[in-house]
Each structure stands twice: as C-alpha cells, then as structure tokens.
C-alpha cells in the first residue's frame, strides 16, 4: 500500500488577535482554525450561507467556492473580502475579521426583538 500524499500546510495569521495557525491546503480557513481549537474568526453555518465568518484577506493566495451574495457582493469578493468557510489557503495568508458576528450574530434575542418592534 502506498503511503498517503504528504499534507501541505500554510500559516494563517489573524491580524486582530495575532493568532497564528497551520491550515492544510485542502481545508478551509475556518475548518483549520476550528480543528485546532483556535479562535478568532466567528463560526456560523460553515457552508457559505450565513455570512458570519466574513474576512478580508490582506495577503496571500487562496482558492474559493461559491458563497452567498446576501453577504458578499461581487465587488467585495474581487477585493479579497470572502467567507472563511469557503476559502482554502494556497500560501501563507493574513486576514482581518469583518464578521464579528455583526449582521445577525451581535444581536441578543432581546435586542433583535426590540429592533423588530421598532421596524
């Protein structure tokens, strides 16, 4: 039996916290962070649908998959603003966290309900 191909790792730096972790080239930035029990990027659906893990890639190469236009516009995507659950590193990479669980996730239930009552 052949040995499995060696895994390729890249170093990911979260600018705000200085957190650094090794992420495999075949896993997403979010999955790599979660697998090591690291924190920094908010974790939502992990499927490109909810927008919670929105980040700005400041340096580095990556591959990406389709993500919800409700949370990332085509212009943003072209400018390196992406969802960390849909992006895999192709080199060492630096990112800034934009999501901060802002859109839906900052609101406590009561604050959300208060907003709902006002609208």
């Amino acid at each position: 039996m052949n040995a499995p191909a060696p895994k390729v790792f890249h170093q990911v730096t979260i600018v705000e916290t200085g957190e650094v972790y090794r992420c495999r080239e075949d896993e997403t930035l979010l999955a790599g962070m979660e697998r090591l029990g690291k924190r920094g990027i908010p974790v939502g659906c992990r499927g490109g649908g909810c927008g919670v893990c929105k980040v700005q890639v400041e340096a580095g190469e990556y591959s990406k998959r389709v993500m919800s236009r409700a949370y990332v516009s085509a212009e943003e995507e072209a400018a390196g603003i992406v969802l960390a659950c849909r992006v895999k590193p192709l080199s060492d990479l630096r990112l800034a966290v934009l999501g901060k669980m802002k859109k839906n996730v900052c609101a406590t239930p009561s604050a959300a309900a208060a907003d709902a009552r006002q609208s």
């Binding site: 659906c45 992990r46 490109g48 649908g49 909810c50 409700a70 839906n104 239930p109 959300a112 709902a116």
Partner: protein, 309 residues
C-alpha cells in the same frame, strides 16, 4: 382531534448555492428520495415515508435561505374558503397554477407578517411510501439509506411582527398556540410555537429584525437511537453540526441540528408531545429561555440563536 382546514406543512422550497452538491447531500446523507426535476432546474424530494410526491424542493440561487413553505389543506373547497377568509382579513393572495410545482395542484400564495411566503394547496399526487395500502410491511430499504427521516415535520422562521403573525395563524388559518417565549418585559413575544394538528409544532417563529429568514427546517425520526445514528452519519460525512444530540425544554423534542452544504440549518429530531386546541399554551419566561431551548445546557447559545439564512 379531527384534522380539518390546514392539515400540515407539505412542501418547502430551499435556495442552495451548488445544486449537485446539495442533491447528493439531501439524497445520500439526509436520505430523502429524489422524485423529480422540472424545466426550471428545481430538484424534488420526499422523505421515504411520505405519500405525496414532494416535500423538499431545491433551487440553485446566489444566496441560501427559504423561498416558500406550502401547507396542505383538506380539500379544494377548504382552499377556496381559506382564500376568501385571507382576503376578508386583508391579506392579498395570488393564485399559482396547478403544475407550476410538479404533481401539485393550484396554490394560494400570500406573504405573512414575518415576511415569509406561504402557500396553501389541496392536491399533490399520492405516490405512496413504497408500500402497498393493503398488507404493508413496517419499513423498506429506503428507510435505511442515510439519516432517512419519516417526514418533513415543521420549520422555525425568523422575522418581525410576531404578535400580528400569531393573530393571522390563529384567527384565520386555524392554528393554536402551543408554547411561547416572552421577552424581559413579560409581555412581548420572543417566540411562538403553533400547531394545526396534534403536533407540538407545525411552525415556529422567533422575533428578528430582518424579515423572511430561515432558522431551520426539521425532519422527524422515530427514536432517540435514530437521533444518535443521525449524529454519526453527520460526522462520517463531515456535515457541519450546530449542536446536539440534546433535548429541548420547549416541545420536549430530542434533537440534533446541522447545516446543509449551503448553510441552511436543519434538525433531525424525535419525541415531543401531542397537543389539542383546548390545551392552555405553555409559557417560558426570558430568564429561563436557555433551559427552554437546550434543556441540559440551560444557557443561551449565540450561534444557535442568531445564525440564519
């Protein structure tokens, strides 16, 4: 209780980001049965034990979430009457012709105060559950493929105007309030759980500023052991699990939550209790809502409460 009027949630149309990936997930991991594809590219599924042609419909789109939810009503006369009742109540309705969804009759479509598109329909082709209606066996091969729930059971929707919404469902559509969660003021609604049948909920709502959001759609399993099996199947397939297996205080269901490949949350659950329209609603106060949502954790879970599509 005789089930009349609005009988049950019958179909839900979901938006997915990658159709092929999603079809593989709903078919082989969740274990629904694919029943058709239409000219618009939508893919139709049903749970193995459901008799009508479809219950979950996938549409490829550039964002995740829910397009519409359809409720089956008892017959065509009921459909006509409910359309009149909705209009008399001040709700604008629209007719969607028979066949626009495969094997489905004419639908009455309207938007509810939370911003979600709802439909009523009376007819969907009975394709059976793989068993004859004479001398059937209790289960079939399809009931062992993937998680393989019995049915699409209910959904939880996020949006504004919960009071107004509850009035519409109870006063016009014949639902009754089963459980509710109150905000700190002890009066305003944070959440409602409503039923048009014996079920502890056919539909639930949570107050949220953005209209038309999906928290989860839910599928019924028949035992706690099947919930654990579902959790194993999720992990084997690297499905994004949200929380569980655990138990709800509200409705008492035993459950696990996860996300489909586009981030739409779904639940596979068992249990809960039966309800009747004369039962007094159960109320949860804001300070105990953590235990209401997850009975063992007894605390609020930010991701569960706030991540929606």
């Amino acid at each position: 209780m005789a089930t009349t009027g609005v009988m049950r949630p019958g179909h839900i149309q979901l938006r997915v980001l990658d159709l092929d990936e999603s079809v593989a997930f709903y078919k082989d991991v969740l274990g629904l049965v694919e029943t058709g594809r239409d000219a618009a590219g939508r893919v139709y599924f049903k749970a193995w034990d459901e008799r009508d042609h479809n219950s979950v419909i996938l549409r490829q789109a550039d964002r995740a979430g829910v397009d519409l939810i359809g409720f089956k009503v008892k017959d065509k006369a009921t459909l006509e009457q409910l359309d009149k009742d909705l209009q008399a109540y001040g709700v604008a309705t629209e007719r969607i012709p028979a066949g626009e969804l495969l094997e489905t009759g004419e639908r009455v479509r309207f938007t509810i105060p939370t911003g979600h598109v709802m439909e009523l329909y009376a007819e969907k082709t009975d394709v059976g559950n793989g068993q004859p209606y004479t001398n059937p066996d209790p289960w079939i091969a399809a009931s062992e493929h993937g998680i393989a729930p019995h049915r699409f059971d209910h959904c939880l929707l996020y949006g504004p105007n919960l009071e107004e919404n509850l009035k519409l469902f109870t006063e016009v559509l014949g639902f009754h309030l089963v459980e509710r969660v109150l905000l700190e003021d002890g009066k305003s609604l944070l959440a409602t759980f409503i039923s048009c049948s014996h079920k502890a909920h056919d539909l639930a709502f949570v107050a949220h500023p953005e209209p038309g959001k999906l928290h989860h759609l839910s599928f019924l399993l028949d035992s706690w052991e099947k919930v654990l099996r579902a959790a194993d199947i999720m992990s084997m397939n690297r499905v994004s699990i949200d929380i569980g297996p655990t138990r709800h205080g509200i409705t008492r269901g035993s459950t696990i939550y996860a996300f489909d490949p586009s981030g739409n949350r779904f639940e596979t659950f068992c249990g809960g209790y039966e309800t009747y329209p004369d039962h007094a609603p159960i109320t949860w106060t804001f300070d105990e809502v953590g235990a209401g949502i997850f009975y063992h954790d007894r605390k609020l879970n930010e991701r569960f409460l706030t991540v929606v599509t």
